[in-house]
Structure formats: C-alpha cells, structure tokens
C-alpha cells in the first residue's frame, strides 16, 4: 500500500515535468530560440505551481474527491496539450498565448497535487516521513521523466503521442485514486465512469496522432512534402502544391510535373525520331521513369535498359501511385529492364550495343558527378553506340552556365563524336541545353510520334539555333585528370547568384 502510494507521487511528478518539457520543445521547434523558450516556460510553470500550492489552503473538504478531479483534469489538459499546440500553430495566430495559458493551467494543477496528497495521507504516517518520502519520489519522478523524454519519448513516440501517453498515466492515477480513497469518496462510481471515458478519448487520440501532426504540418509548409527519404546515395524529397509535383535530389530541383513534358519530350524525340528502325535503347540516370515514358511511345523499340544508381529511387517511381500516374507506369512495361548500378563502371564493363543512348545525370556540381561528363566517359558510352545510333546528353543550361554547356559539348566532340547542340525553354528550369551526338551526321526528324505537347517537326530545327547570349564559346574538354567542368560550373552559378 505504502510503496504504491509513493509510486503515485513518482508518476504524477513525471507527468508534470513531461508536459513542461513538451511545451518547451514544441516552442523551440516552432519558434526557435530554445534558450528563451525553455527559460520562460520553466519560469511560468514553476510560478504556476506556486500558485497551485497557495490555492491548496483554500481547499478544506473533499480532499480525495478533488485530488481525483485534479488528476482527471491534468490528464485531459496535459494529454491533449501537444496536439492542441500543433493545431494552434498551424491554424491560428494565438500559439504563444495558448501555450503559456496551458503551461499555467498545468502548473497550477500540478502545484495542487502534492500538497493535497500530503494532506490526504498525513494521518497514516509520521509527518516527518511523509514529507521526506513524498518529496524524494517527487524528485525521482522528475529525474525519470527528464531522462525518458529525450532518449525514448521524442525519438520513438513524438511529442503528440508522448503527451497523450502521460495524460493516460494521469487519468490512470485518478482511476486508481477512486479505489485507494474509496472510503473518502461519495460518488466513486460516477468518477470511475468519467475516468474511463477520458481514458478512451486519450487512447483514440494516440491512435490518431499521425493524422493530427500531418494536418498541422500540411499547413506549416507552403508545399506539401509528400515523400522525404535519405537513401544511401541521396536525399529524395517530393513536394506537391495543388497539381504540381516536384522532385528534389539533394535539394536540387529535378522536375516539376507542370512542365516536365517539355524537358522529356525535348530530351528524347529530336534524337530518337531521327534513328531509322531503333530497337535497343539505354538510359543512364533517369530514375524517375519520365524519359522511359517518352521512349515507350515508339512501338518498334524492343528493349529499354535503364541504369540508375539508387534502387530506392526506381522503386519509388515504380510504386508510388502519384508518381506512376506521372510516368504512366513506364517501369512496369515488359520492355523495360532496370539495373541499379553506378553508371560509369557499368558502361565501362558492359559491351551491349544500343541504337539510342540517353545520358541524363544531375549537373556536375562536384568531382564525383564530374566524372560522368569526361572524355573517358563519353568514349566508353560511344563504344555502346551502333553505327546509325545517336546519343543525347543532358548538358545543363546554356544560358545560366554557358561555359559549362559548351565545355560539355566540346568534351563529347573530343571523345570522337559528331555533336549537335540544342536548347529548349522549361519554365521551372529556364533555358536548358542538350547535345545529340553520334558516329554519323544528324538531321532533325521530319515526323514524330503522335500526341506530343511541345516538340513538333516544324519547330524542331529552330531548337538548334543559339542566340548571341548563348552562342558557342571555345572551351577545353573535361578530362578525368583535369576536371575543368566542375570549376566552370561552380563559377557560372556563382556569377548568376552574385
């Protein structure tokens, strides 16, 4: 009996501290300046506890009854505090007001608990023991809570569910109090029913916590983040704003669903339509399946091999309903073979021949990616190209990174190929450039697959014209032992942003 009573002290002390920590953490997350948030919240909370203790002297009768009620109230207010604060931040201007109000209410209730409890059990023990044991367990509970909170609760349960869990603890204490102090309670049965109702509410709340946070987060960020994952290779983020889905890899925009058709039609059709009877296609990069979607518009193509580094990327674009709607389930087509491998070693070791090769890598932002834009790489890729085949290379922007664009074109030329640079306008990217290359001469095609929205045969030759501000510049090629491109690219974008 005694030990259980003191465990109760430990539990309610823990609950009180958890609510305070949750308020502090939430405020730090959402408002920043954690020193200010924690200081003011701890201050208000302790002050409110003082108020609670002071108020306890005005309670003369029905101590047990009121104790049970306080626990119930704490369970409700504390338990739902985190969810309420999240929603308040997302939907109202009154986050701070509500937060301090909650902290003060919880503080007062917690301040009432201990004095009441001490008075309830005063008769059973020596006063000296009561004070010593109650305070000991009070502080032990605080220690437990402060260790549990960062180690287990925040990482595994999150703030909303942690608050509800401790709300449940408070209500459980209330329920247990109705049995413990049964002889001092008039309406024990009614209280018990009420406790059970509140318990149910909190359990349901815990189960639905995800929905509450999602609803809140959706309102916090301008665009919904519909997917975010750190894979072994990169950070993938998908956002949605109304009907616009955007893919970011390591924070670089890869496509916007509103205008990606411009990019992908321009990447594929000027080259592929100019090849007589293409049968075999190789795509390097392009794990979003959008280039493959365009290639599948050619029924005569027998096989498409896609080599992309990241299995999570190709899996995502094979399974996520919003994304398979975008790439028209291109990865499920029987003609498509996905290989998850590092492109350069794969190209270097494999010997298959292809009629059309699509090279669609991220921009050369570092020396690792820069390897994929070197004479050595293009020579290795060219060995896979059939005599009548063509290769197309994503070559960054001839407008924003003019030096880089013409450096890539020169590099492909130095690999022994004939080059045909062209560019298109993609609103979310700006002017964007590509290079078609082959062992032979190239003429823009006169007919294209039906149903294209951007590329048409009549306008195609114009894409190969460059106005003066994007006109060719003499450049040295990018080589494995001297990656000029990475430095040029860095400089080009620095020039734009300063």
């Amino acid at each position: 009996m005694g030990i259980l009573l003191f465990i109760t002290v430990l539990l309610i002390a823990a609950c009180g501290l958890i609510y305070e920590l949750i308020a502090g953490t939430l405020a730090s997350y959402l408002l920043g300046d954690s020193v200010l948030q924690f200081s003011t919240i701890i201050g208000c909370y302790l002050f409110a506890m003082g108020i609670g203790s002071a108020l306890s002297r005005y309670i003369d009768r029905g101590l047990a009854y009121r104790f049970v009620w306080i626990e119930l109230l704490l369970g409700v207010v504390g338990g739902f505090s985190s969810a309420l604060l999240f929603l308040a931040f997302a939907y109202t201007q009154g986050f701070q007001l509500l937060m301090y109000a909650l902290v003060i209410v919880i503080g007062i209730l917690v301040g009432l608990e201990i004095p009441l409890l001490m008075r309830i059990i005063r008769g059973r023990y020596d006063f000296r023991d009561v004070v010593a044991h109650v305070l000991t367990f009070d502080y032990l509970g605080a220690l437990g809570a402060s260790l549990l909170f960062p180690v287990l609760l925040v990482p595994y349960l999150g703030l909303v569910r942690s608050a509800m869990l401790f709300g449940i603890v408070n209500v459980a204490v209330a329920l247990w109090g109705t049995f413990l102090f049964a002889n001092q309670l008039a309406k024990a049965q009614a209280l018990r029913i009420l406790c059970c109702v509140v318990l149910c509410g909190l359990v349901i709340g815990m189960a639905q916590a995800k929905r509450i946070t999602t609803a809140a987060e959706d309102n916090i960020y301008a665009d919904d983040i519909i997917f975010a994952r750190d894979t072994r290779y990169q950070h993938i983020v998908l956002t949605r704003f109304k009907d616009d889905i955007r893919l970011f890899l390591n924070s670089h925009l890869q496509f916007s669903s509103r205008d990606e058709y411009r990019y992908h039609e321009a990447l594929i059709h000027p080259g592929l339509s100019a090849i007589p009877a293409p049968r075999r296609v190789l795509v390097l990069g392009g794990g979003d399946g959008l280039a493959v979607r365009e290639i599948l518009k050619y029924p005569q193509i027998e096989s498409i091999t896609l080599v992309d580094l990241d299995p999570e990327m190709t899996r995502l674009f094979s399974t996520h309903p919003m994304l398979t709607a975008l790439n028209q389930k291109s990865f499920s087509a029987s003609r498509v073979h996905i290989i998850n491998a590092d492109a350069f070693p794969w190209v270097d070791s494999d010997t298959e021949s292809f009629d059309f090769i699509v090279i669609d890598f991220p921009d050369p932002t570092n020396y690792s990616l820069g390897k994929l834009y070197t004479t050595t790489f293009y020579k290795a890729a060219a060995r896979h190209l059939s005599a009548q085949g063509l290769m197309v290379v994503q070559s960054t922007s001839p407008m924003f990174a003019r030096d880089s664009y013409w450096c890539i074109a020169e590099t492909i030329k130095q690999a022994g190929l004939q080059t045909y640079p062209y560019h298109v306008y993609v609103p979310s990217f700006g002017e964007w450039g590509f290079v078609i290359a082959g062992h032979r001469e190239y003429e823009p095609p006169t007919s294209l697959p039906a149903g294209l929205r951007f590329v048409d045969a009549k306008n195609l030759p114009a894409l190969f014209q460059f106005p003066p501000d994007m006109a060719p510049l003499p450049m040295v090629p990018n080589r494995l032992d001297d990656q000029v491109l990475v430095r040029l690219y860095d400089q080009d974008w620095k020039d734009i942003s300063h």
Binding site: H133, D342, Y367, S368, R479
Partner: protein, 509 residues
C-alpha cells in the same frame, strides 16, 4: 515503507555508468609484412641448412622488387628463359607490394610513377606494352584523377601541396628565385631520369653540401619554403634537407618538366605494375626463398637459398645493396649506403570522416606534421558513389639517426604506431576514430636509399653500379635514391649485360 539506500545507489550509479559509456568503436589491425626477422638472420650469421638439391641455372636474379622483376621482364622479352628469380618474402614486389580487401586494392609503399620523360626509354617501352601509353597518349584512367592533391594549413585545405595561401612577399620572392634556379639546372640536361644518363662531374660540388646548406647559401630562409623543401625530401628520400645531398634535392625538381601531366597511379599503386610483370614472368619467380650465401666457384657462382642451391653463371643482385656484404663472399662492408626507416599504414574506413571542407583528393598532406599524409586508394575508381575506402598513410622516420629510428620500429608495439598515426589524422579529421575499423601497419627498417651528402658521387656507389664480373648489381639504391624508374633502369641494364654473355651459349629462342 523504506527505500533501500544501497539499492538506490546501485541503480543510480548503474544509470550514470550507462550514460558515460560513449566510446569509439574498436579498431582491429596488426603489423603486417614484417621481414626484419629474416634480415637479422643474415646479419647475425645464423647457421643455414646445407642444400638438399642443386640446380644448374645460368642466371639467378636475387630480389623480386621492381629491379629484379624488370630484369626478368627484359630477359624474357629478349627470348632468354633459363633463369630463376628468388624472393625472400612470400609476396614479390618489394617497395611496390600491395594489399587487397573487400573494398579495394591498396598500396603498401610506392604508389605512383611520374609520367616518364623522353630519356626513360625502358619505362616508356614497358608502358606501351601495358597499354598505359598508346599512340603517344597516356591512358586516361591511369592518369591521376582530379582533384589530385591538397594541403592542410592554417585550419583549412588548399588545392595543391606547394603552399599557396598566407605567403608573404618574401616567401613569394624566394619561391620565384628557387624556380628560376631549378629552371637553370634543368636546362643543363645534367639532371635526368634515369640519373646515370645525365650525371656529370660538373655537378659534383652540389653533392658535397646538404640541401639545407645550399638553400641557405641561396639566401632562401623562408620558413614556408623550407617546410616544403623538407617535405619533398622526406617524401622522396625519407630524409630531411639537412640529411639530403643538395644534388639530390635539386634532382627532385630539375629532373622533371614542371608542367607535365600525371602522375600515373592505380588503386594498388605500383603494385599494379608488379601484377602485370608477374603475369609475364611469374613462372620464374620463387617466393619465400632467402638467399643466404653467394660464393665464387671455378666455373661460376654458387647461390644458396635454404634447401636449394643453384649453380649459376651470373647473378643479378637486385636486393638492397647493403645486404651484399652479408651474402656475397668477398664483398667488403659498405660505407656509403644509408637507408631511411619508414612506417606505412593502411586504414579501412567504413565511412568518410569530416574534413573541414574540401573534396577528398588523391594525396592529402598536412603542414608541419611529421608524417607525409595519406593517399586514397579508391581515388582512381570510376564510381560516382564511394562510401567506404582505404587510405594509405605514409610516415618516413626522417628526423634523427636512422639506426635509432630502426630501434624504435622494433621496440614499439602496434598500438603505439596506431595511436601516433590517429593523433596525426585527428588534426584534420576530428571524427576519424569513429570511421576506422582496421589499421594495418607495415614497418620497414631499410625502406629507401638515403642520398646523404656525398652519396651520389661516392666512388663505392659508382664502382658497384658498373657491370663487372659475374655479379651485377641492380637495386635502385645504386642511384642513391629509390624510385621506380631507377630500379627499372638498373634491372634492365643488368639483364642487358647478362644477355651479352649468355646469349650465344644458351641460344635465344
């Protein structure tokens, strides 16, 4: 109720201990490739068993490093196949030995060859055979990829190893003057690779003073410049500028074109070349065969290697020359051959450590460190994504007496060297201990020839490097310093000399 005080203290202290157990993951490793035990048997004139088997073999090559393997390569290339190569260690390659784990192959010592100039005709011939040089073009994937090297100084990385940031006007002026002087030396054509081709008595004076003295005579006292010169001498010779002949210090710079491409490098360093050579001459190589006695007989030479004896007409002695007095009957002790002790270590990294900014390069050097930095074995990988790698850490024990440093090598245990190296790396990668899972350490008492004052023009060295009698010396230490091109040149030249005599009697295929 009562709270057990002891119980409370126990649980509380357990909780505290649990919280304080934040330790780095354990690091495995050991010494590898130790060979001093074998060498000391020779030094201490241990008794060896008499041979159970005597083989008649016209040519015996002693030593399976680059010099010995190059001699074998040349003999075989010229159609002479009646020879054997005896290597003391289990793995051939000498200073070009390599290792391999599940991540990559990696070097144990020599890890690159500068793009050979026009005079290094045998290196060029070998590289044409190995398709490193094709139609006058160096194969892209063997030229060191960008970014090549970096130096950590003043808390940050700079591109290139020659200090370029934080230089005063005085520093710049001295670097400029040094460059001019080197340019003049280069123009004389007397500093060449191989060194024997250009060596001229006109430059003998430079061999009589130390490089440090020469720099002082040139009024080059910049701390930064002297650090860099010292680094270069430690890197190529394992010696400080004070211990290096000025001739050798100048050779380092004047023997090569300033704007050349390269260097040529491979994941396993020069082990790649050893592998290619072994593909060609591996059948002639006997490993684990320590030659302990070479003596003259009426008709030739007797070579004893453990249980096997060889009756030979010629011996190409490609092992380090300092071993000759211990092995070869009648060779007097040598005075002018000094060697630098080295420690190298291979680090298995399960993830890449923080680096205070800057891309990881091939060669990574830290200013004012006693070490020479480290080389990344996956640098020549074509992959775009590398999350595990092996670093080879180089440390020439250049300061102090070589003999005392050799004592240190023997006395200290593996964890001493591991800790010393980790401390050095921690200066530039604070979290290195959390990334490393294995550190293997190789200690070499006589790693590289040390071109001390007077070594280049030493009559002893010049006498031994001339073909004479039935024993032909071929180790790179006959050049005064240990680099690939010198070893290969001397190996080929020794083989050439042998071929002049044996070609007629044994019939070239």
């Amino acid at each position: 109720m009562t709270v057990s005080r002891r119980g409370f203290m126990q649980s509380a202290s357990a909780a505290l201990v649990g919280l304080s157990l934040k330790s780095d993951p354990p690091i495995a490793g050991s010494f590898v490739n130790d060979s001093f035990q074998l060498g000391h048997q020779l030094r201490d004139h241990a008794s060896f068993p008499s041979p159970k088997q005597i083989l008649k073999t016209p040519v015996v090559i002693v030593g399976g490093g680059i010099a010995g393997l190059s001699a074998a390569w040349w003999l075989q290339k010229k159609g002479f196949t009646d020879f054997v190569l005896l290597e003391m260690n289990d793995q051939p390659g000498g200073n070009s030995r390599w290792g391999e784990n599940e991540i990559t192959a990696y070097p144990w010592a020599a890890h690159y060859v500068p793009v050979p100039g026009p005079k290094a005709i045998y290196v060029r011939e070998l590289f044409e055979e190995l398709a490193v040089l094709r139609d006058g073009q160096w194969e892209d994937r063997y030229l060191c990829f960008a970014p090549q090297e970096r130096l950590f100084l003043y808390g940050r990385w700079q591109e290139g190893i020659e200090p370029a940031i934080g230089l005063s006007e005085k520093d710049r002026d001295q670097f400029r003057r040094l460059e001019e002087r080197i340019h003049q030396f280069r123009a004389t054509g007397k500093f060449t690779v191989p060194m024997e081709l250009g060596l001229s008595d006109n430059t003998g004076d430079l061999d009589q003073i130390s490089f440090a003295d020469w720099l002082r005579d040139q009024r080059m006292d910049s701390r930064i410049l002297n650090w860099y010169m010292n680094y270069c001498c430690r890197d190529d010779y394992g010696a400080t500028t004070v211990e290096t002949s000025a001739w050798a210090g100048i050779q380092y710079f004047a023997s090569r074109e300033p704007e050349e491409k390269g260097p040529l490098t491979w994941p396993e360093g020069n082990g790649w070349i050893v592998r290619r050579l072994l593909e060609r001459v591996g059948t002639f190589v006997r490993t684990g065969q320590m030659v302990h006695r070479i003596s003259h007989t009426k008709r030739g030479l007797n070579v004893l290697a453990g249980a096997v004896g060889y009756q030979a007409e010629f011996v190409i002695f490609a092992a380090p020359t300092f071993l000759a007095p211990y092995l070869i009957e009648g060779v007097a002790p040598l005075r002018d051959f000094e060697y630098s002790p080295w420690v190298t270590a291979n680090f298995t990294l399960d993830r890449l450590p923080d680096s205070y900014g800057g891309d990881l390069t091939w060669d990574n050097v830290f200013m004012d460190s006693p070490s020479l930095g480290y080389v990344d074995a996956t640098h020549q990988s074509l992959r775009t994504h590398v999350d595990r790698t092996v670093w080879t850490f180089y440390w020439a024990l250049a300061d102090g007496e070589p003999s005392r440093n050799r004592q240190l090598l023997l006395q200290r245990d593996w964890s001493y060297w591991k800790e010393a190296i980790l401390h050095d790396l921690e200066r530039v990668h604070h979290d290195i201990r959390r990334c490393v899972s294995r550190v293997d350490v190789m200690r070499m008492g006589h790693a590289m020839a040390r071109p001390k004052v007077g070594a280049i023009f030493s009559p002893e060295r010049r006498r031994l490097s001339k073909p004479h009698g039935r024993i032909l010396f071929a180790n790179s230490d006959l050049s005064g310093f240990s680099i690939f091109e010198e070893a290969q040149y001397r190996g080929v030249k020794a083989a050439d000399s042998v071929l002049r005599f044996v070609g007629g009697t044994h019939g070239i295929a």
